[in-house]
Amino acid sequence: MRRPSAKTIFALLTAAGLSGAGLFSTALAQEADHPSDKPMIVASDFGVAPWMVRGASGPEGFGADLINEIGKELGRPKVEIVDMNFSGLFAALFAKRVEFLVNPLNLTAERSERMLYTEPLFSTGNGFIVRAADEMKGFDDLKGKAVAVNRGTISDTWATANAEKYGFEVQRYDVFPDTVQAVLTRRAFTALNEIPTTVYAASQNKAIKVGFKDFNGRNFAYAFRLEDAEYRNKVEAVIECMKIDGRLRKLHEKWYGTPPDAGSAIDTVYFGYGPPGFKGFEPTAHALSCK
């Protein structure tokens, strides 16, 4: 076997560097980034029960079932869910380490400037975990106390924006379970997270309860790179079919133990592609070809 010359190696490195920098044409990149014969690679932060947790035979939960179903519908041989801290998810998406994000990710105006969201697929809001013996009636009970949040999540954003207004201190942790630990070890009065996450955590641990729920019209949706509109639409079409035939609703009942609240995004098919009212929304009617 001939050894590759220095020139060949240089050429290869340059090619790798260029493709990494994303200089290939968009069409080429689309197929190369989502090869239909390779496993689908997506990312989520694990430990957010019952959305995504590590089970005996790989990831389990509402989010795991949902993305596996989508992968199957799109004809991909397998779905690989990469476990990543929340704070690393966006960098991984932009660096093309993953195809899109499947964690419980809130839809916000700021984020939709840089990522392409699907339509809402799950309704949520602020849930406050407190120790079983404590009481929380409303935001005023937070005065002079510490609120633990998962760094970089929408809860972090909310807490940062409201810390002064309600007079509390914000503690930021890398993962959700650490925020619960902070409450259990009395470092924080409450752990703030998505309502479904807090309800489930409280159902698993007698030492804590959900002290206060604040439904505020927020939604989760999957997020893609800006140039992947076509691929986003493909995934969204599958989600819409799952809403229509009730598969999404069944998944909710399976993992959360209750049917979704009336008017939840779980049951609502939105017009067009993308999130209505946010950047990345394509207000064009499309016919669904559900199986």
Partner: protein, 223 residues
């Protein structure tokens, strides 16, 4: 190229992130300096206690040093932060980070000081005692100045590498440079704040690295 500018060198994002990352940087600097001060001084103290040659004390110090040299820094930190409250001791993120990394540094420092002291010829002790110096006086005025000179090059490297561990403080909610950058990054969905954090780390640790080179040079050319 456009992508890397958009995601890692976005000036608009830099402007948004600057105040938060700067506040984090202040914490990083203070915590790092405290780690170095605590780690080096406590390590020196341990090495001096070992010189007294009291057997039970030596055992305790050896166990302390070996355990801390073995455990990953993050494990020490998480144990102090989430473990001790169950024993009734709740430390702040700031104190936890300084204590955890300071303890790790002290373990390495005591080992470095100890081996430097041992590296000096025994004859110096004997000569001093022949001249009527007490053991303590020999240690403080003859042995230690030479030992410190030997120890410094090893010590500066170790001190820098451990104080860089302040970034691990994010795990226990210390609002330092990296953590603040990550928070902003998630809000604006753009990793540019990480570049800003890297720049801040450089402005602090680069002079430290340069200074350590200078100290090593000064000490190795014995003056």
């Amino acid at each position: 190229m456009d992508r890397i500018v958009e995601y890692y060198f976005n000036t608009k994002i830099f402007a948004i992130a600057f105040p938060e990352v700067l506040a984090g940087f202040r914490t990083t600097v203070i915590v790092s300096l405290l780690i170095i001060a605590f780690g080096v001084l406590f390590g020196l103290l341990l090495a001096l206690i070992r010189c007294a040659n009291i057997r039970p004390l030596n055992w305790i110090i050896t166990i302390y040093v070996d355990v801390l040299r073995t455990l990953p820094q993050l494990v020490v930190m998480v144990f102090l932060y989430f473990g001790l409250p169950y024993l009734g001791l709740t430390l702040s993120p700031f104190v936890t980070t300084v204590l955890a990394l300071g303890m790790v540094l002290s373990a390495f420092a005591s080992e470095i000081f100890w081996s430097a002291i041992m590296a000096l010829p025994r004859g110096q002790w004997d000569a001093a005692s022949a001249l009527g110096f007490s053991r303590v006086r020999t240690l403080l005025t003859i042995i230690l100045p030479q030992a410190i000179r030997l120890a410094v090059p090893l010590l500066t490297n170790r001190a820098i590498s451990i104080s860089k561990g302040t970034a691990l403080g994010t795990a226990v909610s210390l609002p330092e440079t990296l953590g603040q950058a990550q928070s902003v990054m998630a809000i604006v969905a753009n990793p540019s704040p990480l570049t800003l954090a890297a720049a801040f780390y450089l402005t602090f640790f680069l002079p430290l690295v340069v200074a350590s080179r200078w100290i090593e040079y000064r000490y190795s050319h014995g003056r």
